[in-house]
Subunit: 66 residues, 2 copies
DNA sequence: TCTATATGTAAAGTTTGTTTTACATTTGAC
DNA sequence: GTCAAATGTAAAACAAACTTTACATATAGA
């Protein structure tokens, strides 16, 4: 799975730490997500999508290998 | 987080085992999801949403406590 | 150049997702 | 009422999410 987090953060002018705080996870978790080090839970995806006012599918994308 | 899985399965006439097979998890995982025993990964949410042709937000819902 | 802020990364630890096996209970068709 | 299919559940084991601490690198502004 890939994601758009970096772009969305840029649009909303948020640092990784800002975003982490907003959705209640550690900054390292946001960093790892952006670097595709792991797949977040659906709760996190929903929270992030809500914060950015976009559907989950506009931020997280399935890949062939998923 | 809550979800609509049971309803969506009914609409599409799928058993828990059917759904599990379609998205590549165990039947127990589907059962546990439906009973809100755990929060699935975003990859699973995306696969389920894709299968049912609906946005993730139409199937999985944040709650106050999330 | 010095400093502050943002990002990358790593290791260890805790919690939670997910599988496997196995069995009990429910439900519907016959 | 029987039988098969579907669902509920549980325990053990493993994999992955997520946290904390800590440090290194990059970047931009004074």
């Amino acid at each position: 799975m890939k994601n758009n987090l970096k772009v969305e953060r840029a649009i909303h002018n948020l640092t990784q730490a800002d975003l982490a705080e907003r959705i209640g996870v550690s900054r390292q978790s946001i960093n790892a997500m952006e670097k595709n080090k792991y797949v977040p839970s659906t709760v996190l995806a929903l929270k992030i999508a809500k914060l950015f006012n976009k559907p989950v599918e506009d931020i997280f994308f399935l890949e062939e290998t998923d």
